[in-house]
């Protein structure tokens, strides 16, 4: 199979490679690295800068940052991906129905969404997580629910815009059922917005997990997650900036990769961006 043109561009290629690498790390690291490598404390080398023994330095408890960032990838990526997928699974139908059906349905659904939007996302996630209890699964549910209203709002707006396009009206007079109209005519045309929003949400979800962990509701110490590492580094920024830089770089690379990948994916799905298709 030939790679879509969008992924043959340098930007798309870099994005795809980055995302692939991070996914591989997230999946393979826990299988090949013994889990206690991330929790082993080297009390003589606390806050050590990068050395031969600790290539990326250590944190305030003398734990090796390289192992922590590699093993933390699993937790961070897993939680963020699952939470964003969950928000899409709930938000996409919600927004589509609200935007397409309109009238009372739209009013009821959107007031519900507005109520959720009235709380800061993190506060909402915090409350849900506190009610459900602190564990991995509940963290995902909490972030997933907290992120749903944004997505639902954006999708509703897009659905509203697309639903009044002449091609949708023409498709209606062509005898299409409501379901087919939504699936074949509206959904493909709002996918670009969904993809862009999802890649941004993924980055925010990694940070949201950090916030929850900081408050004792997400990942439980001594397990590693990127967000937890960034939170823990805040007291040592002046003496040991690498404690923030290492997990920070991991998050930044992931977000960068996801954005580039997301753009390429959007272009790959758009017939207008396909080159040489004629």
């Amino acid at each position: 199979m030939k790679l879509p043109a969008a992924f043959r561009s340098s930007k798309g290629l870099i994005g795809a490679v980055l995302v692939l690498m991070i996914l591989l790390v997230a999946i393979i690291a826990p299988l090949v690295i013994p889990p206690d490598m991330a929790t082993q404390m080297d009390m003589r080398a606390r806050l050590s800068p990068p050395t031969l023994a600790h290539p990326l330095g250590t944190d305030q408890l003398g734990r090796d940052l390289m192992y922590r960032v590699l093993l933390g990838a699993h937790t961070s990526i897993y939680i963020a991906t699952a939470a964003v997928l969950m928000s899409i699974v709930i938000g996409l139908p919600l927004g589509l129905i609200s935007g397409y059906v309109g009238k009372t349905t739209d009013n009821i659904l959107m007031r519900l969404v507005d109520t959720l939007l009235a709380f800061p996302a993190l506060l909402l996630a915090l409350t849900i997580s506190a009610v459900l209890g602190p564990n991995l699964q509940n963290t995902i549910i909490a972030i997933g629910i907290a992120f749903t209203p944004f997505l639902a709002r954006i999708i509703r707006g897009e659905a509203l815009r697309v639903a009044q396009m002449p091609y949708v009206e023409a498709a209606r007079t062509a005898g299409n059922s409501d379901t087919r109209l939504i699936v074949r005519h509206i959904l493909p045309n709002i996918m670009p917005a969904v993809i862009v929003q999802s890649t941004i949400s993924l980055a925010f979800a990694i940070l949201a997990e950090a916030g929850l962990s900081f408050l004792g509701l997400g990942t439980q110490p001594p397990d590693a997650s990127w967000g937890l590492m960034i939170q823990a580094s805040r007291d040592y920024l002046d003496r040991a900036p690498w404690t923030a830089l290492v997990p920070g770089a991991a998050v930044a690379l992931t977000v960068l990769g996801l954005n580039m990948f997301g753009d390429a994916l959007r272009d790959a799905l758009d017939p207008r961006a396909r080159k040489g298709a004629t």
């Binding site: 091609y167 023409a170 007079t173 062509a174 005898g175 017939p271 207008r272």
Partner: protein
């Protein structure tokens, strides 16, 4: 400046734009000149480079990613001749808005919505002329009077959104005139305006030109406007100058094939006089289209619209409750016979589109009856409408770029109605689609393409193929050719007439263009403020218009014939009143006088 020397002389202008794969040529090689006090019209279809030429003269093309790659643009100033192509940015600032004024196409966006008219008008005066605020204000007032805006004092305090489209364009013209430029560049200044307002604006520009002696460079795609405005004409095609000459010569004795083809594609108001039926246009370089569109001896009614009324609520307040109603369609009745075309004409906001959409129930009418072959469409529920209603009537929309789904292959879009209505499947489906592509004269190789790979005219053919797929009895064409270039428009019109004679389809042809309507219609209905003010056969309405609105509409249409100047001094049409009425307002029924058999005129005592 010695007599007879040109004000502007453009020599071998070449403009390039940055593209992904090297430069794209916007203008290849264009040379012409403008003498003081003359109007030069640059005419061409989209992509001809006519706007790029005018933007180059202002050096505005650089702000759109373009570059003047060669040639001279000489402009005669008081201090001597200046080559605009390599003038300093500071000098260009002195010239723009001061020595050269410019009017753009869209009056809605060429004024800044957050400043009052006074603020926008006085800015340029204070900058270029160093006037004090009070003097600039006095001058602005004088200018508004010069462009004949009613109540000029009040207008100064108003914001752009408080003015109508025509009024806004007058303000834009007043601003362009503020510093008494020697050259006025007007880039499609009336394209976005209604025909009566267009006539007013054209008359205004013509009068200002005569009064002030400035030269006008007028960019347009409309040959009729050219005929009315131009002293000399420059015809452009794909970045090159095709032909140049005095306006009479271009119209009566064009030399180049392209000019001849362009002129042949323009429908001229009045040329169908005395003809019994619509006739396809004779296009240069194409075999004539055969179509017998004579009305049947015994006409059979297909669509009967009775007392159709459509109102939209205007919502307001905290709870978004209806506070008023837009009376879009008000007690409209008409009949379309089998195999015939009824055209609805009128200006924007007159309700012609709402009427078409209400018939298909894309917009729900408030009351009235729509009978298609004696089946009541309004009484149908959603399922019946989907199964039977739209099986017999289809729509073609205005915007060819928005009426096809960008994510679906063309064959799939044309196949949808066939599959949904169970008309074909399997190999038969493929054959039907191929035949439909043949009918609209598109190559079958286009079937697997996506919409973006097609031009506007080709897309509109696909939209027609999709509408034809179900073998409908009626097609509602809502401004279906308005967005197309004139040569493409003529081809699509011919195609529609050909299909009509072949399949006996009826058309409801909604358009603002009187000349096009005269070409294609058997019967005509003129709409004004939601009402049908006059209806009759094409000959009755066009050759013997009775209602005062029909007459003013006809007198405003520019004719593509320089010997018949219809643009007179200071036209002032009555502005169209608002169709918004308070809740519960019940206007009286439409009552008509039958001035001749089938020729109805609205009794004019209600609005």
């Amino acid at each position: 400046m010695p007599d007879g020397s040109p004000l502007v002389s453009i020599d071998n202008l070449r403009v390039e734009f940055r593209g992904e794969d090297g430069p794209i040529v916007g203008v290849e090689d264009v040379s012409f000149s403008i003498k003081p006090g003359e109007t030069v019209c640059v005419v061409g279809e989209s992509g001809s480079g006519k706007s790029v030429t005018s933007l180059s003269l202002m050096r505005l093309v650089e702000f759109g990613g373009g570059r003047i790659a060669g040639g001279k643009l000489e402009f005669a100033r008081d201090s001597g001749v200046l080559d605009v192509a390599d003038a300093d940015p500071e000098i260009m600032q002195q010239i723009r808005g001061n020595e050269i004024g410019m009017i753009f196409q869209e009056p809605m966006t060429s004024l800044n919505p957050v400043f009052t008219v006074e603020r926008q008008m006085t800015d340029g005066l204070r900058l270029h002329r160093g006037l004090s605020q009070s003097k600039a204000r006095a001058r602005a007032l004088e200018l508004l009077k010069q462009v004949r805006i009613p109540e000029p004092e009040r207008r100064l305090k108003q914001y752009p959104h408080e003015l109508s489209g025509g009024m806004r364009q007058r303000v834009v013209i007043a601003m362009a005139m503020a510093c008494e430029p020697r050259l006025l560049i007007a880039d499609e200044p009336t394209t976005a305006l209604d025909v009566t307002i267009q006539a007013e604006i054209l008359a205004l520009i013509d009068r200002l030109k005569r009064e002030t002696g400035m030269a006008v460079l007028f960019i347009t795609h409309d040959m009729a406007v050219v005929a009315q405005m131009a002293d000399r004409v420059v015809v452009m095609f794909r970045g090159n100058l095709v032909e140049e000459g005095p306006v009479e010569q271009i119209f009566t004795n064009p030399q180049q094939d392209y000019t001849k083809a362009l002129l042949a594609a323009v429908p001229r108001l009045g040329e169908m006089r005395g003809k019994p039926a619509p006739e396809p246009m004779r296009l240069v370089g194409q075999s004539p289209v055969e179509a017998d569109l004579k009305p049947a001896r015994k006409p059979e009614p297909l669509l009967e619209v009775q007392n159709l009324t459509t109102r939209y609520p205007v919502k307001g307040g905290v709870f978004r409750r209806p506070v008023a109603n837009v009376h879009a369609v008000e007690d409209v009745s008409f009949t379309i016979n089998k195999g015939e075309t009824l055209a609805l004409v009128g200006e924007s906001g007159c309700g012609k589109s709402s009427c078409g959409r209400s018939i298909l129930r894309l917009t729900e009418p408030t009351s009235g009856k729509v009978l298609l072959d004696r089946t009541d469409i309004i009484a149908m529920n959603d399922r019946d409408l989907r199964r039977r209603g739209w099986r017999d009537m289809q729509m073609v929309f205005q915007d060819p770029f928005a009426s096809l789904n960008p994510y679906m292959r063309l064959k799939d879009q044309v196949a949808e109605p066939l599959m949904n209505y169970g008309l074909a499947s399997g190999s038969e489906l493929k054959d039907r689609i191929a035949t439909l592509f043949d009918h609209v004269e598109l190559p079958r190789s286009f079937m697997t393409r996506f919409p973006h790979e097609l031009s506007g005219g080709q897309r509109q053919r696909i939209a027609i193929a999709r509408a034809l797929a179900v073998n409908p009895k009626l097609i509602v064409a809502d401004e279906a050719v308005s967005a197309l270039d004139v040569s493409v428009q003529a081809q699509v019109l011919n195609l529609m007439m050909e299909l009509q004679s072949e399949f006996g389809i009826s058309f409801l042809f909604i358009s603002h263009d009187m000349a096009v309507v005269e070409r294609v219609s058997h019967r005509v209905g003129v709409m004004y403020l939601g009402r049908l003010v006059e209806t009759g056969s094409r000959a009755q309405v066009f050759e013997n218009p009775q209602h005062s609105y029909t007459r003013s509409l006809m007198s405003a249409v520019p004719v593509a014939d320089p010997t018949r100047k219809t643009i007179r001094d200071d036209l002032n049409f009555r502005p169209i009143p608002s169709p918004v009425f308070p809740l519960g307002h019940e206007p009286g029924p439409s009552e008509y006088t039958e001035v001749a058999p089938g020729h109805l005129v609205l009794k004019d005592n209600k609005t």
